[in-house]
């Protein structure tokens, strides 16, 4: 189904810890991967996480190895959500990774939790 730009759709999002509502970044949707093996490389993550828009894989300044986290940006909500639901809890080099959203709406404003099926969702999915 195609939607007009700006049309609001109720989103049933998946999050390992569903106490918050994911927030869209300026140019996409950002997720956090933790538990990344310190000797993993960019290409290992790109192989696992598919079509990413950007990847930040920062180094530990003292050791020169990875910090152990990666921040990944996707163009669209579905791709980010897929990455979270399929990759969270999987193994990369004998290390279990956790994958979750990076940004969220103000958690104290939790009206969406009381009525998860209402049309008051603040997330606008824009297609095309």
């Amino acid at each position: 189904m195609e939607m007009e730009e700006g049309e609001v759709q109720t989103v049933h999002f998946f999050a390992p810890n569903p106490s918050y509502f994911p927030l869209q970044s300026v140019e996409g949707w950002t997720i956090l991967v933790t538990g990344v093996h310190q000797e993993a490389e960019e290409c290992d993550l790109l192989d696992l996480f598919g079509e990413v828009k950007s990847l930040h894989l920062n180094l530990n300044h003292r050791t020169g190895y990875l910090m152990g986290y990666a921040l990944i940006e996707y163009d669209n909500f579905e791709a980010a959500q897929d990455a979270i639901s399929t990759m969270n809890g999987t193994e990369l080099f004998d290390s279990t990774i956790s994958v979750d959203w990076a940004f969220c709406h103000d958690p104290s404003n939790a009206s969406y939790l009381r009525s998860p099926h209402s049309h008051r969702s603040r997330t606008t999915i824009r297609r095309f």
């Binding site: 569903p18 940004f103 103000d106 104290s108 939790a110």
Partner: protein, 155 residues
């Protein structure tokens, strides 16, 4: 009310603030960021050089991001350190790092650190080295978060 549904661990008190700055011919120039236990990440960067303006950004991060921030701090073992042998802030500048984790509330204040040479020549090279690396790792984490979310170059 973070963690209404799924959270246990994010109920622990958590706060981190880092400031680095100086007052000079371009006024008060500084970089500051903080993480609060409700997930708010605040970032400010004021540079008056070439009429640059103040950048202020605020966004809520998820419990997963806070947990990673907490891990970075714990693994650095900064909580065992003490700043009383560290160089005092001076005309060149000032750094402050404040951390609240559970029952611990600790603050560090020192001068700017140009390089590891400054660390080695100080009275507490081991402690100052931990601070020096932790600050870089935290800055790097925050810059990645801010630049991905807002599409700005933080420095």
């Amino acid at each position: 009310m973070a963690g209404v549904v799924g959270g246990e661990e994010e109920l622990e008190e958590f706060y981190v603030r880092y400031y680095v700055g100086h007052k000079g011919k371009f006024g008060h120039e500084f970089l500051e960021f903080e993480f609060r236990s409700n997930g708010m990440l605040r970032y400010a960067n004021n540079s008056n050089y070439k009429n640059d303006t103040m950048i202020r950004k605020e966004v809520y991060v998820t419990p997963a991001v806070l947990k990673e921030c907490r891990r970075i701090i714990l693994e650095s073992e900064i909580l065992k350190e003490d700043d009383n042998q560290w160089p005092e802030p001076d005309r060149v500048g000032r750094q402050e790092l404040e951390i609240v984790m559970g029952n611990e509330h600790i603050s560090f204040t020192t001068s700017k650190i140009g390089s590891l040479v400054d660390v080695q020549s100080s009275n507490d090279p081991e402690g100052l080295r931990i601070f020096y690396y932790l600050v870089q790792d935290l800055k790097c984490f925050v810059f990645s978060l801010i630049s991905l979310h807002f599409k700005i170059k933080p420095i």
